[in-house]
C-alpha cells in the first residue's frame, strides 16, 4: 500500500472511530475534518481565554471576579445540546479554576459538570436557542453553580469566607449581564450550528414556497 493511502486510512480510522464521522470521497473527508475539528479547536481556545480572563481580571479590578467566564462558556456549550463536550468542558474549567483558588479542588468541577448536564437536559426538552430565554438560563446556572459549590465546602468543613446570599446575588447580576453579551459574541465566533440552522430554515422556506405553488397549480 502506498504511504499516502496508508496515511489516509489512518486518518479515516481516527475519524470514524474517535469522532464518529462517516467518511466518503476526499472532498467529503476534508469537509468532515473542518466541520468536526475546527469547532473543537474554537471551543478549546474560548475555554482557555475564559480561564485566563478569570485569573487575570481580579488584578485589574477586584469586583470583576464576580463574573464567572468559564461558567458562561459551559452554559453556551450545554445550550448547543452537545452533552460530551459540555460535561468535559465543565469538569476541566472547574478543576483548573479550583487549582488556583483557596477552595477545595473538585468542588468547582462538580458544580460546573452538574450545571452543564442540567442545562443540556433542559435544552433537549425545551427550545432554549432564543437569546431572551438564555438570560434566565444564565441566571439559574449561576445560582445552581454557586449553591452546589458552597454546599460541598460546607459539607467538608471549609465554609467560604464571604456572606452567601450577598455573594450569590453579586455573581448572579455580574455573570448574567456579562454572560448575555458573551453568548452573543460566542454565537458569532462558534456559530456553525446557527449558520447551518439558518441555511436549513431558508431552504425549508424555499421548498414550502415551491411546493405551495405546485399545489395551487
Amino acid at each position: 500500500m502506498p504511504i499516502a493511502d496508508r496515511q489516509l486510512s489512518i486518518a479515516q480510522i481516527f475519524l470514524e472511530n474517535t469522532l464518529r464521522v462517516p467518511i466518503g470521497p476526499i472532498g467529503v473527508r476534508q469537509l468532515a475534518i473542518s466541520n468536526t475539528i475546527m469547532p473543537q479547536l474554537k471551543i478549546a481556545a474560548v475555554l482557555a481565554l475564559s480561564i485566563l480572563l478569570q485569573l487575570s481580571l481580579r488584578v485589574l479590578w477586584p469586583p470583576l471576579s464576580y463574573i464567572d467566564f468559564p461558567l458562561i462558556v459551559v452554559v453556551y456549550i450545554a445550550l448547543q445540546r452537545d452533552a460530551w463536550r459540555a460535561l468535559l468542558v465543565g469538569t476541566l474549567a472547574g478543576i483548573i479554576v479550583d487549582a488556583s483558588s483557596g477552595g477545595l479542588i473538585g468542588a468547582g468541577g462538580f458544580s460546573k459538570t452538574l450545571t452543564a448536564y442540567i442545562i443540556y437536559f433542559a435544552a433537549t426538552k425545551v427550545n432554549l436557542e432564543n437569546p431572551l430565554v438564555r438570560i434566565p438560563v444564565l441566571a439559574a446556572a449561576t445560582v445552581l453553580d454557586s449553591a452546589i459549590y458552597v454546599f460541598w465546602h460546607r459539607l467538608l468543613g471549609y465554609p467560604p469566607v464571604l456572606p452567601l446570599m450577598q455573594t450569590i446575588s453579586y455573581r448572579l447580576i455580574a455573570t448574567t449581564i456579562a454572560g448575555t453579551l458573551v453568548l452573543y459574541m460566542l454565537d458569532s465566533i462558534i456559530a456553525d450550528r446557527s449558520a447551518q440552522q439558518r441555511q436549513f430554515a431558508t431552504r425549508r422556506r424555499v421548498a414550502r414556497r415551491s411546493t405551495g405553488t405546485l399545489r395551487r397549480r
Binding site: L55, S65, L104, G109, Y170
Partner: protein, 299 residues
C-alpha cells in the same frame, strides 16, 4: 444514519458520563479535604504545578493591561505630582541625613549592649502571580516554592506589614492565606511588646476587609490609631512585625474584652511583591501526657 445513531448513543450515554465525572470530582475533593488537614497535599501540589505557567501568563497579561489603564488615567496628574515629588525629595534628603546619624548612633548603642538585631530574619523576595479566581476565598499565589526553600506555615510580609502565611507549596509556587481570611490568626499586642499589656489574638474579617482583635482585656487602654504588632507566640509569625492600625474600638469593661478592628498595614488589595520570611517558629515542648497524680498512684 451513522450520525443519527451517534447522537442517540450520546444521549443514552450522557448520564453515565455525568456520573463518572461527578464521582471523579468527589474523589478529588475528598482527597484534597483530607490533605488540607495534614502536611502532604498531593492533589493540590500537582494541580498547582500544572497551573503555575497559566497563572504566570495571566499575571503578566493582567499587569500589563492594568499598567496601561493606570498610565492613561494618571497622565493628567503627572505634572502636579512631579512638583510634589520634587518637594518631597528635598524633605526626604534632609530626613535621610538625620536618620543616617541616628542609625549610626543606634548601631553603636546596640554594640555596647550586645543585642542581637531582631529584624534580621532571612527573607526571600517573591512576586504575586495570581489572586484567587473565585470570589469565595481570599488567597494569593506567589512565584516561590519548595525549590526556593519555602515551607508550609512560613510567614509572608510586605514592607508595611504582615500579609499572611503559606498554606500550600509546590516546587515553583506557593499559595498564601491572607491575614484578612477568617481562618487566619496571629498573636498580637497593641503597642510595643514588653511595654503594653493589651495582648490578644487577631483573625480576619473578610466581609469588612479588616482584621479583628479579640481577648484584649477591657482594662487596657486602646485608642484609635494605635499600632498592633505580632507577639511571636502563635508559632507562625516572629515577634515585632507590624499587623496594622486600630481603626475602631468598642471599649470593654472589667469583665468584657475590647472589640477592636484593625486596618492591615500591608495593602492586601494591591500586592505585587512580597517577602517570605524563612522563619520556623521554635518547636514547643509537648505537654505532659500523664498527670502527676496518676503517676503517683502507679508508684
Amino acid at each position: 444514519m451513522a450520525t443519527v445513531r451517534t447522537q442517540r448513543e450520546i444521549r443514552q450515554k450522557a448520564p453515565l458520563w455525568l456520573i463518572g465525572l461527578l464521582l471523579a470530582n468527589v474523589v478529588i475533593m475528598a482527597i484534597d479535604a483530607r490533605d488540607n488537614q495534614g502536611q502532604q497535599q498531593i492533589v493540590r501540589v500537582w494541580t498547582q504545578t500544572v497551573a503555575t505557567p497559566v497563572q504566570n501568563v495571566s499575571s503578566k497579561a493582567g499587569g500589563a493591561t492594568s499598567n496601561f489603564f493606570h498610565q492613561i488615567f494618571s497622565f493628567r496628574s503627572i505634572a502636579a505630582e512631579n512638583e510634589q515629588l520634587k518637594q518631597r525629595v528635598t524633605e526626604i534628603e534632609s530626613q535621610l541625613h538625620t536618620s543616617r546619624l541616628q542609625a549610626a548612633e543606634n548601631e553603636r548603642l546596640k554594640g555596647l549592649l550586645d543585642l542581637r538585631n531582631q529584624t534580621t530574619y532571612q527573607t526571600l523576595p517573591a512576586r504575586v502571580i495570581a489572586r484567587d479566581p473565585s470570589v469565595w476565598f481570599n488567597t494569593i499565589t506567589i512565584d516561590r516554592g519548595t525549590s526556593s526553600g519555602v515551607k508550609i506555615n512560613m510567614p509572608v510580609v510586605s514592607a508595611t506589614g504582615i500579609v499572611g502565611r503559606v498554606i500550600t507549596v509546590s516546587p515553583w509556587a506557593a499559595q498564601v492565606m491572607l491575614v484578612t481570611d477568617e481562618k487566619a490568626g496571629a498573636g498580637a499586642v497593641v503597642g510595643q511588646l514588653g511595654e503594653s499589656g493589651a495582648l490578644g489574638s487577631v483573625r480576619g474579617r473578610p466581609d469588612l476587609g479588616l482584621i479583628e482583635m479579640r481577648y484584649v482585656s477591657g482594662l487596657e487602654k486602646v485608642t484609635l490609631g494605635d499600632y498592633v504588632m505580632t507577639t511571636g507566640q502563635d508559632g507562625i509569625y516572629p515577634p515585632g512585625l507590624n499587623v496594622g492600625e486600630v481603626v475602631d474600638v468598642k471599649n470593654g469593661t472589667a469583665t468584657q474584652p475590647h472589640q477592636i478592628l484593625i486596618r492591615p498595614g500591608a495593602r492586601l488589595d494591591r500586592l505585587e511583591e512580597v517577602a517570605v520570611l524563612l522563619y520556623e517558629a521554635p518547636q514547643r515542648t509537648a505537654p505532659a501526657q500523664t498527670l502527676p497524680n496518676v503517676e503517683k498512684k502507679k508508684q
